[in-house]
């Protein structure tokens, strides 16, 4: 007779809202499988009310996060990158399971993720210099433009790039002072859940990033129509869903970032577009010569 094998720990992961890990209000969960169809874990299936709570948490975190100095925000993102690096092995294993890629390829993606965070962290106190200006005007005024964060941003993360794609849509939103509610990839939510555990143990204030796992078609329209959400990034939405969401978003004139036409190459160095999409410009006229 063979030794009985060790009992498997079948995990059920929770959501990440306001710095805490609550279950879905609805009590629902779904099975996450590997690319080969094996059971990996259970994940919470967020409902519209979880999205509502997440928006509330993001709104509450906004004054503190947007009021922090750019230097401070940058340091916190570096810290997140450090913590992410510390969990590299876990991320690699999750990517191998989720996408069926080789361990070597998964390692490349994990490294690129850390690099991406560091890249965006460096921008925190420089984006103002690039996007702001001392404008020449025909009058005795100093005319200065500075950038300000848009507010609460809803993000539908890409379905096909569960880690690098996820960081590539979250980092540019929060580095400039926005707070966000993110709908993670439904098919492969485990890297997002591990990222939530990383964020919770780095210095990022609770509520700045809120991660929901579940179905984008169920959650995105509620976020798009929510009057207290200032912008929405539709990167992970299918074409039809993106149209619905954009229509819903019109009610309170949300800023909308449309999904890309072709699957983007997440490994390529990003431009500034994702940061500038969620920035407002404030211009001040100040009299001179008096």
């Amino acid at each position: 007779m063979t030794e009985p094998s060790r009992l498997a720990v079948r995990k059920t992961y929770k959501l990440y809202i306001g710095g805490a890990f609550p279950r879905s209000e609805s009590g629902r969960s779904y099975v996450v499988t590997s690319s080969k169809g094996d059971f990996l874990a259970n994940a919470s299936r967020a409902s519209r009310k979880d999205a509502r709570d997440a928006v509330q948490a993001a709104r509450k975190a906004f004054p503190g996060w947007s009021g922090a100095t750019a230097y401070n925000r940058g340091q916190i993102l570096y810290r997140v990158a450090e913590m992410l690096e510390g969990r590299r092995a876990q991320f690699v294993a999750e990517l191998v399971d989720a996408d069926g890629v080789s361990a070597r390829k998964a390692g490349e993606l994990a490294d690129a993720t850390v690099d991406r965070l560091v890249w965006y962290a460096g921008w925190s106190d420089k984006i103002g210099a690039v996007r702001g200006a001392a404008n020449p005007v025909a009058g005795p005024y100093f005319n200065l433009s500075t950038t300000e964060p848009t507010g609460v941003v809803a993000v539908v993360a890409p379905q096909g790039a569960p880690l690098l794609g996820l960081i590539s849509v979250i980092a540019p939103v929060i580095v400039t002072g926005n707070t966000c509610v993110v709908v993670a990839s439904e098919r492969a939510p485990l890297p997002a859940i591990t990222l939530a555990e990383v964020l919770a143990t780095s210095d990022l204030p609770g509520g700045v990033v809120n991660l929901l796992t579940g179905a984008a078609p169920e959650l995105a329209p509620w976020l798009a129509s929510h009057m207290d959400v200032n912008a929405i990034d539709l990167t992970g939405c299918a074409a039809e869903l993106a149209v619905t969401c954009e229509q819903q978003a019109a009610e309170n004139l949300k800023r909308v970032l449309r999904p890309p036409n072709a699957t983007p190459d997440w490994l390529a160095t990003p431009g500034l577009d994702r940061m500038t999409a969620f920035l407002e410009t404030k211009t001040v006229w100040h009299p001179t010569g008096i």
Binding site: R52, V55, W222, S225, H226, M227, D228, V229, Q248, E251, N252
Partner: protein, 341 residues
């Protein structure tokens, strides 16, 4: 006192009789009260019932500003909101009353005009109540003369806690007398129903209604809350109110449960109906609906009326309006689209 039925006639004759009566009231089962309140708070009120509850709760709000920094402009702005809580939606009912300090009453009376929104004023050295009876009566008379429809007085908690019930009783009686107004149905206001009818649309106001604030956060036990409720009702209170909002804890569900039981029992024994007003700490629609459930299940549907139940709060109104808009439009509302206070 003319308000007392024969069975209670001798109760207030001395401190000894009052003490014997109040301490002879059945004790409150603390755990039971907490559990019952918690159990009723789990009731799920949805769809059309929720829409009704929201409108009822809005019509029961006493919109309150009691800050040292209150200005005439702030009171005017609050009164405008009281009359029309959501300018974009005329179907939203007006609130029950605005509640201000005595020196703001005249401005508030002018601002609410004939809209039917009452003007309530705190008085009697609010919120501590630590002053002489003369000062308290003068404070009350000043607010009444300025046109207040309702007076929110505080009891002397020091006297109550040290067992001097007679002093508290006499103070309430004296303030009640100061609420009388020429043109009112009586000198010291016996029946409340007559007052309410005389008030509607009539410029000659009747006696001001007296709300007695027990400040339950300072009374320490539920037994004391029950005693203070009975004491206030025996002395002629038209309303009993939980708290000033300046002491934590303010209104809680179990305390309100005890007070609702007191007004229910008081009506059963004397035939006189007394209102209840929890105040402070009610911030969300969910909280407000919990109170409505509590009223319905404890005192009964007779009390589900702005005449007999009020919510002393200001921040809850915006949440009620946001919930109302969510139900009307089907999308979540944002606080940016409602006035701050």
């Amino acid at each position: 006192m003319s308000t007392l039925t024969p069975s209670f006639a001798g109760v207030a004759s001395s401190n000894a009789t009052l003490r014997a009566f109040l301490q002879g009231l059945p004790g409150v089962d603390r755990v039971g009260a907490d559990q019952r309140a918690a159990m009723l708070a789990t009731r799920s009120i949805k769809t059309t019932a929720k829409a009704q509850a929201i409108d009822l709760a809005i019509s029961m709000v006493d919109l309150t500003t009691l800050e040292g920094a209150d200005t005439a402009g702030k009171v005017r702005a609050m009164c405008a909101k009281a009359v029309q809580p959501d300018p974009g939606d005329p179907s939203v009912p007006k609130v029950a009353a605005v509640c201000v300090y005595p020196d703001m009453v005249a401005g508030a009376v002018q601002a609410v005009g004939r809209s039917g929104v009452r003007v309530a004023s705190v008085a009697t050295a609010f919120p501590s109540g630590r002053s002489s009876l003369d000062v308290k009566v003068t404070d009350t008379a000043f607010a009444v003369a300025a046109g207040a429809d309702e007076i929110d007085m505080v009891i002397d908690r020091g006297a109550f806690l040290s067992g001097d019930y007679r002093k508290v009783f006499e103070e309430i009686v004296a303030i009640k007398a100061a609420c009388a107004r020429e043109g009112g149905p009586s000198g010291n206001g016996t029946a409340k129903s007559g007052n309410g009818a005389a008030k509607k649309g009539s410029p000659a106001k009747g006696d001001a209604h007296l709300k007695v604030i027990l400040e339950t956060g300072e009374l320490a036990t539920y037994d004391n809350v029950r005693r203070a409720s009975w004491l206030a009702m025996l002395a002629g209170a038209d309303f009993i109110k939980t708290s000033t909002g300046k002491v934590s804890p303010a209104a809680t569900l179990p305390v309100t449960l005890v007070m609702l039981e007191a007004v229910r029992d008081f009506r059963a024994q004397t035939g006189r109906m007394v209102g209840v007003k929890p105040a402070g700490g009610i911030r969300t629609t969910k909280d407000a609906v919990k109170y409505l459930v509590l009223v319905n299940e404890t005192a009964g549907p007779d009390w589900l009326d702005p005449e007999w139940f009020r919510l002393g709060a200001s921040s809850v109104l915006n949440d009620l309006l946001m919930q109302r808009q969510k139900m009307a439009t089907g999308r979540y509302a944002g606080p940016d689209y409602f006035t701050l206070d």
